[in-house]
């Protein structure tokens, strides 16, 4: 097509110049055609960048503007450009937007008319472009619905490659959608407080009796900050605290990181040294040096050491976990307030037990408090630098 256009342009030039120059020169004018800037795409990259407010409404407006054009051309280029800006406009998890993107292609134009066409990818660029779009949907976890099937069938026929990809997606994606034993709402909350609640509930799911409580540091008289604390503790853990010896210290460790889909939250634990392992004295059954005959010897008073109290889930081999928490500021002060709240809330023994802050933990990598504070300061500073208008 572009070939035809170019020749036409050549002829136009040729006719224009005919009056002055010779005919021969007219035919060589294709050279000057090349010097011209290449044809600009219908929708350049800039048109999406130039949008002032980037949200779903403006994104759909962009699609509408394109569809209103008299001579719609360059569908593929437009869709490919639009796909790149999905994340930026915050519409990457929105099914309606994907549907509108598919509707940019006209229905009925690319439907193959025979088997050869349908098997050898009729309009390959168009099909590939929609396959990429479906891939994007899959990556962002958007499950299509039956309306999408209708749209694809109208555009590429019942044997189109995007339709086949759609079927695959509809087979597999619902299978994995609700598979996780610790589901996260969709869309996931952005608020750190909501996330902390989710995270602590998830961690506490190990013990069904666990209670997740929210404390406000304002309620404490001696607290410096004003923030929230999400704390998780079970009755079993309270019992362990109540029976904890006074000379053995308890550690506040953290922050550890827990991921909730694409966001992470820092949490802290109250941990103490592991309780001594139950020792099983191995008896050699083949040893007959001390063989006793039950008929002649006195019976041995059977004092069994095999029976022991079953350990709770909180008593692990690398430490006993007494409580879990996430705070709004992840600062030392807020953690101190957490301990005060725990003392008031059924753990009076904690007032007598020495409590230590540690920056190292046997339970994996720790993100040090000071670093967290520094990074927060940086964030705050950068916020301050931005002039408020």
């Amino acid at each position: 097509m572009s070939n035809v256009l170019r020749t036409c342009r050549g002829f136009v030039l040729f006719f224009n110049r005919q009056s002055v120059k010779s005919v021969q020169r007219g035919f060589h004018s294709t050279e000057s055609c090349l010097d011209k800037p290449p044809k600009v795409d219908v929708v350049s990259v800039d048109s999406f960048n130039n949008v002032q407010e980037k949200n779903k409404k403006t994104y759909l407006d962009m699609l509408r503007v394109y569809r209103m054009e008299k001579y719609r051309s360059g569908h593929v280029e437009f869709i490919n450009t639009a796909i790149k800006h999905l994340d930026e406009f915050g519409v990457n998890e929105d099914l309606e937007t994907y549907k509108k993107l598919i509707q940019v292609l006209p229905a009925g134009k690319f439907v193959p008319q025979n088997y050869i066409q349908s098997e050898f990818m009729h309009y390959p660029k168009h099909q590939q472009c929609i396959i990429d779009l479906l891939q994007k949907m899959e990556d962002n976890g958007v499950i299509p619905d039956w309306e999408v099937e209708d749209m694809l069938v109208k555009r590429f026929g019942p044997r189109g490659f995007p339709v086949r990809r759609y079927w695959r997606m509809m087979y597999w994606m619902p299978k994995f959608n609700n598979l996780s034993p610790w589901p996260i709402p969709k869309p996931a909350p952005n608020d750190p407080y909501e996330l902390a609640l989710l995270a602590i509930k998830r961690i506490s799911s190990i013990d069904i009796e666990s209670e997740v409580k929210v404390y406000k540091t304002k309620e404490l008289e001696e607290s410096i900050e004003d923030t929230w604390i999400v704390s998780g503790q079970s009755p079993d853990q309270k019992k362990i605290v109540a029976n904890h010896p006074e000379n053995v210290p308890v550690y506040i460790e953290g922050g550890f990181r827990i991921w909730l889909r694409k966001q992470s939250i820092i949490y802290f634990i109250l941990r103490t040294e592991p309780s001594p392992a139950i020792e099983n004295e191995e008896e050699d059954e083949d040893d007959i040096s001390n063989f006793r005959v039950p008929f002649f010897d006195k019976p041995i008073p059977k004092i069994s050491d095999k029976i022991a109290k079953k350990k709770t889930v909180h008593e692990q081999e690398d430490g006993t976990i007494l409580a879990v928490a996430a705070t709004g500021t992840s600062s030392k002060n807020s953690l101190l307030s957490w301990i005060r709240f725990l003392e008031k809330d059924g753990n009076p023994r904690l007032t007598h037990i020495p409590i230590l802050f540690t920056s190292k933990s046997p339970l994996g990598n720790v993100e040090p408090l000071s670093e967290l504070d520094e990074s927060k300061k940086e964030v705050e500073q950068s916020k301050q630098k931005v002039p408020i208008e």
Partner: protein, 309 residues
């Protein structure tokens, strides 16, 4: 072997682009220059088991050095062969697989237990910026940790990025003959681990003889709770689904447990940031009440799928 992969569609198109030169959407500019803007593949055949990725196995440059190293290796191989022969003569197979008893295949307790594993990430092939490491942690557990980054390097070729992977070495007998793990008596995979809330992927590789089967892998998701508590995960082998080169295949099949070549764990959940997965052991167990072969539908669909798919 009626499997046509998703990417073959792309290959097929490239084929036409190369031989006929008429391709509706090819611009004039490209044709005039005679430049291929993308790599062309003219056939489906693959020459390399690693699909062209750097192996890092070319240890010797000269032939003499290679011979010297080969002779050194020969000593080790003969020792291995001797051991194998002894085992054949002793012949001490497991006679009884008891329900609920976990047979541990890999446990992480000392540095030498890391010898079975290969750790790779996209930055190793200059295809991304993720970094990872497998080591023995403070408490003597395997610690697979690193930093996941899904930023795509701007080389115009790579579209997706961000993975870290740990995988066992290929099982082999003496003289570097390929061998297989036989897990056919078991029904469940059993792992004890402590994750960070991410979902990981468990890959059981069943690489076959021919090039189309080199990348066969059975995969399932490993969800981790996160937090300070250990978790024991039991996954039935029947749940594993069949994939190849990162694409789920249309024709599913039960996992051939008698010919497993590698076992691996991947993290690539697009959440940028540090990750850590502590592993105590990886094992398997038998549950006599579990009769499912595969959890996925095995019936044929007449209309929907065309040529091999």
């Amino acid at each position: 072997m009626q499997r046509v992969k998703m990417f073959t569609v792309v290959l097929f198109r490239n084929r036409f682009k190369g031989s006929f030169g008429v391709y509706p959407a090819l611009t004039d500019w490209t044709r005039r220059r005679g430049v291929h803007t993308s790599a062309t593949t003219l056939e489906f055949h693959e020459y390399d088991k690693r699909s062209g990725y750097d192996t890092g196995l070319e240890i010797a440059d000269t032939r003499t050095e290679r011979i010297r190293l080969g002779l050194k290796q020969l000593k080790k191989e003969i020792k291995l062969w001797k051991k194998e022969m002894q085992e054949v003569l002793i012949s001490d197979p497991i006679l009884d697989y008891r329900a609920g008893e976990v047979d541990v295949f890999w446990r992480f307790y000392e540095e030498s237990s890391l010898d079975h594993w290969i750790v790779t990430s996209d930055s190793d092939h200059a295809e991304g910026f993720s970094k990872c490491d497998l080591k023995i942690g403070h408490q003597g557990y395997g610690l697979f940790h690193g930093n996941l980054c899904s930023r795509v390097p701007k080389d115009g070729r790579i579209q997706n990025s961000g993975y870290c992977n740990m995988m066992t070495k290929r099982v082999s007998k003496s003289f570097q003959r390929d061998s297989f793990l036989d897990w056919s008596p078991y029904t469940h995979l059993n792992l004890r681990l402590r994750g960070d809330g991410r979902s990981y992927l468990i890959n059981i590789h069943v690489a076959g003889q021919f090039d189309i089967m080199w990348n066969d892998v059975f995969t399932f998701v490993l969800y981790t709770r996160g937090g300070p508590y250990w978790q024991t995960t039991r996954i039935p082998f029947s749940k594993f689904f069949f994939a190849s080169k990162g694409r789920i295949q249309d024709k599913q099949a039960p996992l051939p447990l008698y010919r497993i070549t590698n076992f691996g764990i991947t993290v690539s959940d697009k959440a940028d940031g540090p990750f850590q997965l502590e592993i105590d052991y990886i094992g398997a167990e038998i549950d006599p009440t579990h009769h499912e072969e595969t959890a996925y539908e095995m019936y044929e669909i007449q209309q929907n799928y065309i040529i091999g798919t």
